[in-house]
């Protein structure tokens, strides 16, 4: 069958009819982990995105939504990709209702642009995510940072969403008021869905006032003082001083925990002093300091590059000492030296393996860790070990998630929203 000469022009015509800005994909710039799409379309509105997805459905095209692409390399590559829908032409902050602490934003707007609009009113979207990422990408990947501890993930700040289904139907849920329980919350389902259920075109967020003052309290330990640092993390996280972040960073060369306090000038000064005392009294002989400089793990790593493998470990905080020991043991068993960091006080850590790690070692690290942290059958789940980024061979050998509670329901949801399995096929552990 001569698909090149007959079908491809028909597809192109249909896509262009739906959305004027469509081009052939560039085999280098548009490839996703080696998978090269045929077309890239740049819708300027939800209507154009809807028309594009109708055309894609008519021609049975596999579709990958894209923002600025900062997260595209995380997670499994698509098993097929005919059309990339690039949201960067939809880059507007549609409405910033400062008095209501609410903003409605097009999915292709960058976090940096949104921050500059909100900042002029002394407000912010309380997520610590890269400025060059798009709003839609952050929601779709569920990206979080240190302040996850206090403000949660994108799903916790998202109050309304507009999506386009795989069949092109446009749907909304939520609205632009914070308190709202009318109907199912599609925003929760689409947060972290990685583009596999449909295309996010607009998001409405709850905002927070920017704090007048911030301070970090940090404590440095000898790299083997795992018990003491775990105790400090738990004390900080459980204190009534209302920290905004309780972070941990750990490698062969350093072990540090840090607590972010936000509030008024006088309040932060007073609270950070008390927090420093609390941390110092939690055990060990840490060097405790106070600073306004953000505490970032990658500042501790000389010449930090993009890690080859990122493993997310979630846990109940009371298990933190065991988690740290399991990370050390899994590293020793696999012959790798992970750099571990993250919002430990919120029960999340990321273990990163550097580029050049042997794939079988990385897979072994994940499997040993997962095994060590498994809870006995019969008790409820107490955490998980997920591979967020890794070469395909590591994903294949270790599995992205291990056993997932409710996997059958997730399959049903995927089948309902995307019966042809055309939305980012292969991305979320399934195809």
């Amino acid at each position: 069958m001569d698909t090149e000469r007959t079908v491809v022009p028909a597809i192109r015509d249909a896509l262009v009819a739906a959305c004027p800005v469509v081009r052939s994909a560039d085999s280098a710039a548009d490839a996703i982990a080696g998978v090269v799409p045929s077309f890239v379309a740049f819708p300027a509105s939800t209507q154009e995105a809807s028309a594009l997805l109708r055309a894609a459905a008519a021609f049975d095209l596999a579709v990958v939504p894209r923002g600025t692409g900062t997260g595209l390399g995380w997670g499994p590559p698509p098993s097929a990709c005919d059309l990339v829908i690039d949201l960067q032409a939809m880059d507007q902050v549609i409405e910033h209702a400062a008095g209501d602490l609410v903003a409605r934003v097009q999915a292709g707007a960058t976090i940096g642009h949104l921050a500059s609009v909100l900042g002029s009113a002394g407000q912010e979207l309380a997520l610590d995510v890269p400025a060059d990422a798009t709003v839609g990408g952050v929601v779709a990947t569920g990206t979080t940072g240190p302040r996850r501890f206090r403000y949660g993930a994108p799903r916790d700040l998202l109050i309304g969403i507009t999506i386009v289904r795989a069949d092109g139907v446009v749907a909304h849920s939520g609205g632009k008021v914070v308190k709202n329980v009318a109907g199912y919350d599609l925003g929760k389902l689409f947060s972290g869905s990685q583009g596999t259920l449909g295309l996010i075109t607009e998001a409405t967020f709850r905002l927070h006032p920017r704090p007048a003052a911030v301070a970090w309290v940090t404590a440095d330990y000898g790299p083997s003082s795992l018990g003491a640092v775990a105790s400090a993390v738990a004390s900080a996280a459980g204190s009534a001083l209302v920290p905004s972040a309780v972070e941990l960073a750990w490698s062969a060369a350093f072990l540090r925990m840090g607590v972010l306090l936000e509030g008024s000038e006088s309040g932060v000064a007073e609270r950070s002093g008390r927090m420093a005392e609390l941390v110092a009294s939690a055990g060990g002989t840490p060097v405790v300091a106070r600073s306004e400089v953000p505490f970032r793990w990658f500042d501790l790593v000389p010449a930090a590059g993009a890690p080859a493998v990122v493993v997310r470990v979630s846990f109940w905080v009371s298990r933190l000492p065991g988690v740290l020991e399991a990370l050390a043991a899994a590293g020793a068993s696999a012959g790798v030296e992970p750099v571990v960091s993250g919002p430990a006080g919120a029960g999340v850590l990321y273990a990163c393996l550097e580029p050049g790690v042997r794939e079988e070692d990385a897979a072994r690290f994940v499997l040993v860790l997962r095994d060590a942290l498994a809870v006995p059958a019969g008790s409820g789940p107490r955490g998980s070990v997920a591979v967020l980024a890794a070469p395909p061979a590591v994903m294949k050998a270790a599995g992205a998630f291990g056993p997932v509670p409710g996997a059958a329901l997730m399959r049903s949801i995927k089948d309902q929203f995307d019966p042809g399995h055309r939305m980012f096929p292969g991305r979320l552990g399934g195809s």
């Binding site: 596999a62 499994p76 209702a97 602490l101 949660g152 799903r155 916790d156 749907a171 909304h172 849920s173 609205g175 632009k176 008021v177 308190k179 709202n180 329980v181 009318a182 109907g183 199912y184 919350d185 389902l189 947060s191 972290g192 006032p209 996280a237 459980g238 009534a240 209302v242 509030g263 006088s266 979630s314 109940w316 298990r319 029960g347 999340v348 789940p381 998980s384 997920a386 395909p392 994903m395 294949k396 992205a400 998630f401 291990g402 997932v404 409710g406 059958a408 329901l409 997730m410 399959r411 049903s412 949801i413 995927k414 929203f417 019966p419 292969g426 979320l428 552990g429 399934g430 195809s431």
Partner: protein
């Protein structure tokens, strides 16, 4: 009892024990409504399972027979979400009421669904912790019901709703299978089923265990009451507080009519002659709260407060809250019947919408008392009527619907915390397009394709689910590797 439900009785007695299956019509009438008494329907039978496995067996039995079922917690819901089906089984969760575990270091508790909201905080208090969502019915309402409704409460302005405090759920699916959703920590691997389930009003399954976050008790709590001549003045204070970058734990307002009712009911001794009372609560570290308190006090004064009272000990704070907490029940003192609405408006539209409510009220000759969560724009207009006067109930219904229209026109919602249930499903098409409702029901189809789990709630028109053949493009590597984790 219909033939098909009657046939289930022996099996259900076997599962739950003979004493826990209710078939007596008089006893069944106890369950004919929830907190919204205007909708009544006697279930064909009621069962009171004592364990998650029993819930699973009950649901599996219903599913196999094609009999609809409805779960009920304490029955305090205000939207008819737990309204039984005459042709169905009511599954009453009140026997499953243990706090299974408290892990103070992790700040997590695992509870059964029949546990009352307040008893979670009571169990956590010895560890210096509490469970933040606090619906007004917290003394009796169940955590399972809170999950179904995504309940809020006065303090959700700062601390969030139930969905922000639930990190794992064990549920019985509408097919009768017991499964966990989420990994227990609030981090999702794959789709956020905990988020999707919470607030689904009992239509996606029945929750059997709940993992909740606990928060450290605040160091200090200050409550401030400010009296105003009008709600407009009080509203200005609210806007100024938010504009000052302060997020109080709660900001509540009552108008003259609701103050009158509260005085009659609980003698709350609010400032005499006040046209509006504003209650602002600040909680957190002492150094922050004291700084905020002086700002809030200055703002309240500048907005024209005729009197300000402040309290920082539990007994004094309770005195301030007494009138507000009694408000719904108190209007019974000034009106034989009333409808509680739950509309939400953007905070900045509060003044305009309150003025609109006042004119709707005077045009129709129907009194409306306003009690509301001013900080998040969640109005609770109490539409008063006398059912002994012909036509008044219909007029009150009319005003009630017009108030929701006004909320939607302002960019708000028909419900902030009570849920849609049976009561507001007819208003859903005013807020959502048919495509929106159709898309939401894809979720319903994924969980409950047979439409047996609390049918007839939320959506005005059910969607036919049909069989959706999943067509995979290629076997995923994990499948090839024999991993059973795909979805």
């Amino acid at each position: 009892m219909t033939t098909s439900t009657e046939a289930l009785v022996p099996r259900l007695r076997e599962v739950c024990g003979p004493g826990n299956v209710i078939t007596d019509p008089l006893e069944l009438r106890t369950y004919e409504c929830d907190g919204l008494t205007s909708h009544r329907s006697v279930p064909a039978l009621a069962v009171l399972p004592g364990a998650a496995s029993e819930v699973a067996s009950v649901v599996a039995t219903c599913a196999a027979a094609g009999v609809p079922f409805v779960a009920r917690g304490s029955g305090t819901g205000l939207s008819g979400g737990a309204l039984p089906r005459e042709d169905g089984v009511l599954i009453v969760m009140s026997r499953m009421r243990s706090v299974i575990e408290i892990d103070p270091v992790s700040r997590r508790a695992v509870v059964e669904p029949g546990v009352t909201n307040l008893s979670v905080s009571k169990a956590a208090a010895p560890f210096g912790l509490f469970y933040a969502p606090d619906p007004s019915s917290q003394v009796v309402c169940s955590v399972g019901g809170n999950v179904a409704e995504n309940s809020g409460g006065a303090h959700c302005l700062k601390h969030g709703f139930t969905v922000h405090h639930v990190t794992g759920l064990e549920i019985v699916t509408p097919a009768g299978e017991l499964t966990w959703l989420g990994d227990g920590t609030g981090v999702a691997s794959g789709y956020d089923l905990v988020g999707a389930f919470t607030g689904s009003e009992g239509t996606l399954g029945i929750v059997t265990k709940i993992v909740v976050k606990l928060m450290p008790l605040p160091e200090v709590v200050h409550t401030l009451l400010a009296a105003y001549a009008t709600t407009a003045e009080g509203g200005r204070a609210v806007s100024d507080i938010i504009a000052a970058g302060i997020v109080p734990a709660a900001i509540e307002m009552m108008d003259a009519l609701s103050i009158e009712a509260a005085e009659a009911a609980v003698h709350c001794n609010y400032p005499a002659g006040a046209g509006a009372v504003l209650i602002v609560e600040l909680d957190g570290p002492a150094s922050e709260v004291e700084a905020e308190l002086s700002v809030v006090r200055a703002i309240c004064e500048a907005a024209g407060a005729t009197e300000i009272r402040a309290a920082d000990d539990p007994a004094q704070r309770a005195v301030i809250w007494a009138g507000r907490k009694s408000a719904f029940a108190a209007v019974g003192r000034i009106s034989p019947s009333f409808i509680v609405q739950d509309g939400v408006v953007p905070r900045t539209s509060l003044g305009a919408v309150l003025a609109r409510i006042a004119s709707l009220s005077s045009e129709a000759g129907i009194r409306v008392a306003n009690v509301f969560h001013a900080g998040d724009g969640n109005l609770h207009p109490l539409v008063l009527y006398d059912d002994a006067i012909p036509g008044q109930e219909a007029a009150a219904e009319e005003v009630s619907g017009q108030i929701l229209d006004a909320c939607l026109e302002a960019g708000g919602s028909i419900t902030g915390e009570h849920g849609v249930g049976v009561d507001k499903s007819r208003y859903m098409p005013k807020m959502f397009t048919s495509a929106d409702l159709d898309t939401m029901q894809l979720v319903r189809c994924a969980f409950d394709p047979a439409n047996l789990c609390n049918p007839g709630k939320i959506f005005p028109t059910p969607r036919l689910c049909g069989e959706v053949p999943g067509r995979r493009r290629a076997p995923h590597p994990a499948v090839a590797a024999g991993q059973a984790e795909i979805f």
